[in-house]
Amino acid sequence: MPTLETLVKIALLIAGLMTAAAYLVLVERWVAAWIQDRLGPNRVGIPLTKVRLFGLGQPIADGVKFLSKEECTPAYVDRLLYFLAPIIMFVAAMAAFAVVPIGSVLPIDVEIDGTTRPIELVVAPGVDVGTVFVFAAGSIAVFGVLLGGWASNNKYSLLGGLRSGAQLLSYELPLGLGILGVVMVAGSLRLETIITQQAQSGVWNAAIEPLGLLVFFVAGFAESGRLPFDLAEAEQELVGGYHTEYGGIKLLLILVTEFLHMFIASFMIVILFFGGWHLWGLTGSGSEVTWPVAIIRVLVLLGKVLLTILFFMVARWSWPRFRFDQLMTMAWKVLLPLGLVNLLTLAVWVEYGDRVSRAMGLPPLAVMAVCGWIVLIVAWAVLAWALPNTTDNRPRRESAGEL
């Protein structure tokens, strides 16, 4: 039975996410423009006046443009799948947010089924498999991409869909390994617990398992399909990839979904590795909160997420796109071993860590952090030494045969 509380939260979340997506498109365009030495959108302000507001009206204009565009469906598409694909992607991406905490709790008690508890800032509080749920909902995206690519009946779309399918499947593995490490340390799959555990110890997971962060970060980038991992829609090669044949509101759905994937990735990075709403000396760590603390926690979390998203946006212009074989090498020969090493280290730590550090007379987390960083450096160095020192993938001279 959905309660009023849940309905209100869902409404707020959807409204918030859509607004955020609209404005982050503007931010993305600004960042892109500034990096290219341009000014970016700075004209659209309040409609019908000459007030410019640094271009803050741009999202409205963009939205109106998308909605009023001609709704055109190519003749040879598989109509059912063609319309289904963007909807599947969008719904799955939105669903993932059901378990993502946007803060900690509000200091108002509500009574449900006879028990009194404070309002938690998450649509579905207390989901014990929160991490797995986000992960599962995120991987449904691959259906949308594949269906969209297939249903469009277009070579470029199909190629984009296939590439994306292979990419998403490959990177799910390192992504899972990155999450597993965190789950092992926290001893729970609940996102709220993972945050609380970091807040109470005061040490973020990024410090104690940098290798896990690295693996998760790169895999998260790849899962959200942004440059340098945007092979699915490489404009220079595939026109628009799997959404070449989409236009109007369907394209809008797909583009918003891509932004939602980036949000999810950023939220997960912040929650799993950067302490969620925790900031030393500002947010406290208990479950009893006052209004100011509750609000500060939300702001801290959103601030961290915004910084991560900004990094995503800057990264887009910083490195060239991977070639497909490099992409696969990255997943299977780099991230997978690194993830396994990370998991192994943490497993050993969870088993013996306490005893070792007690014997040495040092705080466990400090020892763990030092171990984590040493493992990162050693594993990276070994990998750098072991991988081929050229990226040449042409057929070799001997096997090239006749020209």
Binding site: Q36, D37, R38, L39, W380, A384, N389, T390, T391
Partner: protein, 202 residues
């Protein structure tokens, strides 16, 4: 060879497969001994860790993020081409010393135009110094790609590109410039922009 299919004449010499596409093995007209296989440079120890590339990309973007912007705030600010004499904007048809159109209707510009946007109707010239002159001379500015080939091709420097870059109109018909309009552009720009060839000795 028909001018409309550039390159067709060379291409049919290549062997083609049954479907008309090029056969798989196109003979390379060099001996294998002369071929040089260029190897990619090997990565050094630092390069193998990917850190220099990672930091290099990031510093470049951050430098530009904070750097000076080059946007010109048109229409409040006007962009002026650094050298208007080599800018490729709207066309004009030049007049000679007596104010007549210089063009001799030789069709070289229309032939050179890759966008096929010049349409000329030639007529017998009323003047004794040439045989033909253009009765009508239309350029579809919407089709034009402003490549400057017409200017290159003209033997009498009759057609030139000016430095007017912001041309706009309310209909497609309006954007097909006729002879009068093109001559008008000459009258409009002749003071600011002398004939280009005059700079090169006339």
């Amino acid at each position: 060879m028909k001018r409309d299919d550039p390159g067709k004449g060379d291409r049919h010499l290549l062997p083609t497969g049954p479907d008309g596409c090029f056969a798989q093995k196109v003979p390379v007209p060099v001996s294998r001994a002369k071929l040089r296989w260029i190897e990619e440079p090997k990565l050094g120890p630092a390069g193998r860790t990917y850190l220099p590339l990672f930091l290099g990309g990031l510093t470049t973007t951050l430098r530009h993020l904070l750097g000076r912007k080059v946007t010109v705030q048109s229409p409040e600010e006007r962009y002026s081409p650094p050298d208007p004499l080599i800018y490729r904007g709207v066309h004009r048809l030049n007049r000679d010393a007596e104010g007549r159109v210089k063009c001799v209707a030789c069709f070289l510009c229309a032939t050179a135009c890759p966008a096929h946007c010049i349409d000329i109707v030639a007529a017998e010239s009323p003047w004794p110094d040439r045989e033909k002159y253009p009765q009508t001379f239309n350029i579809d500015e919407l089709r034009c790609i402003f490549c400057g080939m017409c200017e290159e091709a003209c033997p009498v420097d009759a057609i030139e590109l000016t430095s007017l870059y912001d041309l706009s109109g309310k209909s497609r018909e309006e954007m097909i410039f006729d002879k009068a309009k093109l001559l008008g552009i000459y009258d409009m720009t002749k003071d600011a922009e002398p004939m280009r060839s005059s700079r090169n000795g006339g």
